[in-house]
């Protein structure tokens, strides 16, 4: 069996790419899949800390590309799942140390090692982004429901189209249902209409994400977290399951219920 390669990207930084990558990967591993995560954000590596694997790094992506180690030596095994591995980004190099064709070659080698390869892309529209999408079979664009994140997502979607890749799918992260309800945040429908691409999941704002990042334990491992549930659902959709969207309807208090009557 050969792996499917998924790249998670965004345009704007700080929208939750690394969190999404880590959680989708862990959720797939939870379902018994063999997963390799690849941090393509050279110079600004973070997937290692989000996964809690920062103390195990010996070799990195650039070591593999430049032939200083074998592929398997750079694959760090996860603490919790034997079939989940991370290839970390190099921290002291820059994005020009790797080319899109290096990434294609690496992607082809990784296809033999797993069922899924999940690549964490750097923000931006330059070399690092092009490296990250080069080997991708499917691209997921992460955005937040705000003006600048949506605008940058649109740029990235245009560039993905220009590369003749399969149309990207959208993850809307950090949704505040109560703000949407009072008309102070773009809702998923608005964002989809503006960007005109398919949705693969909506992730609500959730304090559990920060707590889980603090301890290096992705939020999908937190049964009660809504964000965790949303990421589990995204992974199931990647597996081909039909999963309804989470009900993010804000729990009405008495006053908002009353206000509905006056709408």
């Amino acid at each position: 069996m050969t792996a499917k390669i998924i790249t998670v990207t965004s345009g704007k930084g700080g929208v939750g790419k690394t969190t999404a990558t880590a959680n989708i990967a862990v959720a797939l591993a939870q379902m018994g899949q063999r997963v390799v995560c690849l941090d393509a954000d050279i110079g600004l590596r973070n997937l290692d800390v989000v996964l809690g694997l920062e103390n195990r790094i010996v070799y990195d992506l650039v070591d593999v590309v430049e032939g200083r180690c074998r592929l398997k030596q750079a694959m760090i095994r996860d603490k919790r799942f034997d079939e989940l591995h991370l290839i970390p980004a190099a921290q002291t190099r820059d994005k020009n140390a790797v080319s899109p064709s290096d990434m294609m070659k690496l992607g082809d080698e990784l296809r033999e090692e797993a069922d899924w390869v999940i690549i964490d892309s750097p923000a931006g529209i330059e070399r690092g982004f092009r490296n990250a999408i080069a080997p991708a079979d499917e691209i997921l664009v992460v955005t937040n429901p705000d003006v600048s994140a949506v605008r940058d997502a649109d740029r990235i979607i245009g560039l993905i189209e220009a590369e003749q890749k399969e149309p990207a799918k959208l993850i809307i992260n950090r949704m505040h249902p109560e703000m949407v309800q009072r008309g102070d945040m773009l809702d998923a429908e608005d964002v989809l209409e503006l960007l005109a691409i398919k949705l693969i999941g909506i992730v609500p704002e959730d304090e559990h994400v920060i707590v889980s990042t603090n301890v290096g334990k992705p939020v999908v491992l937190e049964e009660k977290s809504m964000a965790g549930q949303a990421f589990r659902n995204i992974s199931r959709r990647l597996m081909g399951d039909e999963v309804p969207l989470l009900n993010l309807e804000f729990k009405d208090d008495f006053l908002t219920k009353l206000s509905r009557i006056f709408k």
Partner: protein, 88 residues
Amino acid sequence: MSDWLKKFTNQPNSANEAKERLKLVLIHDRTDINPEVMEKLKDDLLKTISHHIAIEPESVTISMLHEGREQRLVADIPLKHYDRSKVG
């Protein structure tokens, strides 16, 4: 603040404003056509068409329409009303 309270205080719905602003920004980002270019295009079009047929320059509208991720330039150019009673 709830919607009905907002109606009383006349506070705008910021999500709608965000959406409207984004619509315009995305059209410009996708096509690299800014309002100045649109105006110039409109002037040139009017000049060229006026060479051949009589039109109502004030009623001409040129706009960008988007269907999915496709952009389309749409021009609506009303012809000048032709008074038949004066003919012959």
